[in-house]
């Protein structure tokens, strides 16, 4: 046991707060919750503000960032809960595609006479939730590791989406949700306000309900949680269901914003969502990070990409930057001691 000398005033103050080693940096990141994310965001904003000579800070651009970050943030709010559990959910793309197809069929369109109106909201939640229940059952009942169970689910759901939607692009003629999504309230995009609202609710569930506590208990150590009396299987299934329902909602919003519903909508959603979750500070080893982290992560990734676009960086380099960001974020949040070895 070492004791840090209390002498040395400012220097030791600095040393205590600004770690010198990689390991210390990790502890520091974990202890301060969202502070590192806010700092990263500040650095990104600072760099691009200078790089674009202020254009980045224009209200129009900030609106763009907020509005672009919102839907990825909602997906991340869904997905991060499964990571908090100590698992992962890779079924996002499948769920999104299937929801999109149903949105296309059930909302007013040129191909059929269905028109469920705003009932599409609970329907989307239910479709996503049902997918989540199945993933949860596969994970807890058949004891299939969550990453395999959900990866399989993703392809099953995508297959169903293509089968049902026949790869047709359906134009959505009911524009009420689209209007809501693209409107602003006091200059702030409504979709961003909705994302924040969902985050607040989920964060509240995580901090202030038994369900939330148990979610973290399982992520911390499943065996200890079980011995303490946590109904591990039930909580897991509930978390996957919640995650799925949130994807359902996000997919509805995404389809309405695009104005088109297609089975291809899910393609490419998984990577940005997982990047957002890890960049936000949710540890892949489980038990650490909440909805606030997921939202901040989505904001950071969006802010970064927006800046790169404004700076006219080649899109290929943008992709590579995202990859680097993901790996650095995982390196900083992963608790290797808990893993023993890395597969």
């Amino acid at each position: 046991m070492t004791e840090v000398s209390s002498k040395g005033g400012a220097l030791s103050w600095l040393r205590e707060r600004f770690p010198a080693s990689f390991a210390a940096a990790r502890t520091w990141l974990r202890r301060f919750g969202i502070l590192p994310q806010i700092l990263s965001l500040a650095i990104i904003v600072g760099v691009f503000a200078i790089g674009t000579k202020g254009k980045y800070l224009s209200w129009a651009n900030i609106q763009t960032i907020l509005s672009l970050a919102a839907i990825p943030a909602i997906y991340a709010i869904g997905l991060h809960q499964t990571i908090v559990l100590g698992g992962i959910d890779l079924s996002v793309q499948g769920v999104a595609s299937l929801c999109a197809v149903f949105v296309g069929i059930l909302l007013k369109n040129q191909y059929n006479s269905y028109n469920v109106g705003l009932w599409i909201i609970p329907i989307s939640l239910a479709i996503g939730g049902a997918a989540g229940v199945i993933s949860g059952l596969l994970n807890t009942g058949l004891r299939i590791p969550s990453f395999m169970a959900t990866l399989g689910m993703s392809w099953i759901l995508y297959g169903m989406a293509v089968l049902i939607g026949k790869a047709v692009n359906v134009q959505i003629l009911d524009t009420r949700i689209e209007n809501f999504v693209s409107a602003t309230l006091f200059g702030i995009p409504q979709i961003a306000i909705l994302a924040v609202l969902i985050a607040v609710i989920v964060q509240m569930v995580q901090d202030r309900t038994r369900f939330g506590r148990y979610m973290y208990a399982i992520g911390g150590d499943e065996v200890i949680a079980k011995q303490a009396g946590v109904k591990v299987k039930g909580i897991k299934i509930a978390v996957f269901t919640m995650a799925g329902a949130i994807y359902g909602l996000a997919s509805l919003l995404l389809a309405c914003r695009l104005g088109w519903a297609t089975s291809r909508m899910g393609a490419g959603l998984l990577f940005p969502t997982i990047t957002a979750v890890t960049v936000g500070g949710v540890a892949l080893t489980g038990g650490i990070g909440g909805a606030k982290n997921a939202v901040l992560g989505a904001l950071i990734v969006t802010a970064l990409n927006d800046g790169l676009v404004l700076m006219q960086v080649s899109p290929y380099i943008q992709q590579a930057v995202n990859g680097v960001v993901l790996i650095v974020a995982v390196a900083l949040t992963l608790d290797r001691k808990k893993l023993g070895f890395i597969k």
């Binding site: 046991m1 202890r31 509240m204 901090d207 202030r208 309900t209 038994r210 506590r213 148990y214 973290y216 208990a217 992520g219 911390g220 150590d221 200890i224 949680a225 011995q227 303490a228 009396g229 946590v230 038990g287 650490i288």
Partner: protein, 513 residues
Amino acid sequence: MSDTSYGANQDTVVAVRQITKVFPGVVALDRVDLAVHKNEVVGLVGENGAGKSVLMKIMIGLEQPDEGTIVLRGEETTLRDPSDAIKNGIGMVFQDGSLLPNLSVKENLFLCHEADFRKVGILSLRAMRDAARELLKRVKLDIDVDLPVTEISPAERQMVEIARLLWLSQQYGKENPLLILDEPTTVLADAERNRLFSILQDIKKQASVILISHRLQEILENSDRIVVLKDGKNVTEIPASKAKLSRIEQLMVGHTFSADRFKEDEQATPGKVEILSVKNLSKAGLFEPLSFTVRQGEIVGLVGLVGSGKEAVCNCIAGLDKADTGDVFLGERKLPSGSPSAAVKAGIGHIPIDRRSEGLALMMSVAENVNLLVLDRLKTAGFLSPAREKKNAQYWISECQIKTPSIGTLCANLSGGNQQKTVISKWLSSRVRLLILDHPTRGVDVGAKDEIYKLIRRLAKEGIGMLIMCDTLEEDIGLANRMLVMKDGRLVKEIESSSQKKPSPQDIIGLIV
């Protein structure tokens, strides 16, 4: 043999009667009795493998006894699992702790029992905080209950666990709960240790305690009654006031072993050449600088308690851990610190305690395991030759008398003893010069133990130097030519153990504890 009865009376909180537990090949507990009375601290002592942990696991429902009964407050009871045990007022503080590292103190305290703090489904953090502070007062702990448990000291974590157990049994309406503390002081510094024991005297007013510790002095000072287990049997119980350290040591070790149990007559005189020399090796927090040598064909026993630093020394020699200072020489060659592959290449073999997860690839065949380290030598024109692989495997299987249906049998399907022989043959075939044997006979039945002792003697005759850590002191003494005694990270004594002049366990145990 016993000087008091194990009998229960009206003050008895928990009594186990005639408990027997058999694991494949080992009788872990043989008709053991234990009674704990109200407001009493019972010290439970015994060597490693004496059956203490199994008995405790049975008392908290983690294991089920094969025979015998558990009587709680006069009623015969079956404990299905730990949560069942706590409902009956029995809880255990484990050595490695059972708090969730990512949750705060207050969240850990009330985990799964948050009902009192709910208002329309929302938890009141303030109510939890207040209740947590109140609970911790009972164990004289004044800490910020919002801190994650990783930020409080080990002693404080134990206090939190104790507070949780006391509270839970109160919730279930059980008065005078039984707390089992498993080696609570191994992770504590001196000051913290004193604090724990002063609080223990307070806890005694509302609970009973079973205290397990290897530090006998602690047991003598802090318990009311001492129960000694040996080889899964009750040896005796003594009121602590009448107990003497030397007497307990003697009881723990016992003195019934036949002269040739460890093949002492086959013990060879070691050669003159030094195979291993360790110079000023140290690792902060684990062991202080120490030096020693191992000669050709010599068996050196490293003895000491778990946590005395002996395992860490071996890990540094095998390259599994990086030493802070000092050097390891194999023959003339200095080994790079912290490189297991360099150690293997130089000729250091390591047989780990947990052979099922570290020593053997269980899902590979016996032949594949035996050949694992010598694949280079089994090549023909750059490719592995199946014929030569088969020949090498068959040779070592018959040499080491590994009982296996075929050379292609998966190691997972062998008995513990034959698995261990496979591990040893793997190193033999690779022509090691120094072998580190970490509890080579753990979990192996008596017959196979005998064969493993024979193998160890043969290895010595072939000039292989060995560092061994055994399950019991007797085994160490029996096998070793020389013993190094470690305590609290220091090498405290070197003891000759030639076949004519074996020291007695009593001589050594005083140095260890």
